[in-house]
Symmetry: C2
C-alpha cells in the first residue's frame, strides 16, 4: 500500500512517506497545515452534529447582543454580505436566530439570538472545545497555552479582530 515500504532504496530516491527537512521545517507549511487540519476536524465534527463553524461564529457574535443590521455582522465575520444571507436563512429556519426589520430604517434587518440559539451555542462550543483538546492532545496544558498566545499575538498583527489590546481599549 505505502510506496515507501514497497520501493527499494537508493540514494537518489525520495522518501515518499515524509517531507524533506526543508519542507518539514518550513514555518509557512507547518502553520498553514496545522491551521487547516484543526479547522477541518472542527468542521467535520460540527457537520456530523448538524452544525457548522459558521454557526459557531455567528452565534458567538450574537451572544454578545443583538446586531444592528446584517452588514455589521458581515463586517465582524469578514464575510461577504451575500454569503451571510444563506447562513442566516439556515439559522433562522432552525429557530436559532431572529431577523427583525428595523422600524427606524426599514431596509435594515436587526439580528438576535433566540433562547434556542443560546442553547445551540453551548452545544457547538462543547464540540469545538473537544476538538481543540483532541487535536492538541500531544501538548501539555501549559504548551497549548503558549502555542495559543504566540499564535494570537502573531495573528493580531494582521487581523485586528484578534487584537486583545484594541478590545480592551474599545470596551473602556
Amino acid at each position: 500500500m505505502n510506496p515507501a515500504t514497497t520501493e527499494t532504496q537508493s540514494q537518489s530516491q525520495i522518501q515518499t512517506s515524509a517531507y524533506p527537512p526543508e519542507l518539514a521545517s518550513c514555518r509557512v507549511l507547518v502553520l498553514g497545515k496545522l491551521g487547516y487540519a484543526i479547522k477541518r476536524q472542527a468542521i467535520e465534527e460540527l457537520e456530523a452534529a448538524g452544525a457548522s463553524l459558521y454557526d459557531f461564529s455567528v452565534l458567538g457574535v450574537l451572544a454578545q447582543g443583538a446586531c444592528e443590521g446584517q452588514n455589521a455582522l458581515a463586517d465582524v465575520l469578514q464575510l461577504d454580505r451575500s454569503q451571510l444571507v444563506g447562513l442566516l436563512d439556515g439559522l433562522e429556519e432552525r429557530g436559532l436566530i431572529e431577523r427583525r426589520r428595523d422600524p427606524s430604517d426599514r431596509r435594515r434587518h436587526n439580528v438576535m439570538l433566540t433562547a434556542a440559539g443560546a442553547r445551540e451555542l453551548e452545544r457547538v462550543r462543547e464540540i469545538v472545545k473537544r476538538v481543540e483538546a483532541e487535536f492538541l492532545a500531544p501538548l501539555s496544558a501549559e504548551e497549548r497555552k503558549v502555542l495559543f498566545d504566540l499564535a494570537r499575538r502573531a495573528l493580531a498583527h494582521h487581523d485586528a479582530r484578534f487584537d486583545t489590546a484594541a478590545e480592551i481599549k474599545l470596551a473602556s
Copy 2:
C-alpha cells in the same frame, strides 16, 4: 468607512471591529486563521514573483533526488495525481524539472530537478523565508522557534510527513 466608528454605541450592540472574547480565544479559529493568513501571504508574494507555493513544495522534494514515478510525488505532497499533472506541466515548460520515461516501465515518468530548477528553488526559498520573517515579526526569534516547535509537534500527530522521529528512523 469602518462601521464601528460611525455607529452609535449601546449596550446591546456588537463591537464590529473586534471578535467577542469567546471567538478571539478560540484555538480553532486563531490557529486556523493564522495558518490561512501566513499561507495566503506566501502565495501572494510568490505569485507576484511568478511562482507558487506548489512550486516550492515540488522543487523542495525533488531537491532530495529524482522521483521514481509521479505517483510517488503525489503521495508525498498528498496531491491528487491528476492535479499534479498540470503542476508538472508548468514546471517542465519553464525548464525547472524534467520528465523522463522509465525504460524499465514505459508507463512511468521519472521526475528530476534541472539546474535551472535548483536555482529557482533557491529563489522561492528566499521569498518564503522573507514572508515568514515579516509575518512573525511581532515575535522574538526565540518565540518564533517555540511557536514552530509546538505547532510541528501538534501537527505531526495528525500528519506523519511532519514527524521528525519517523524521519530519523527512516533515514537510519
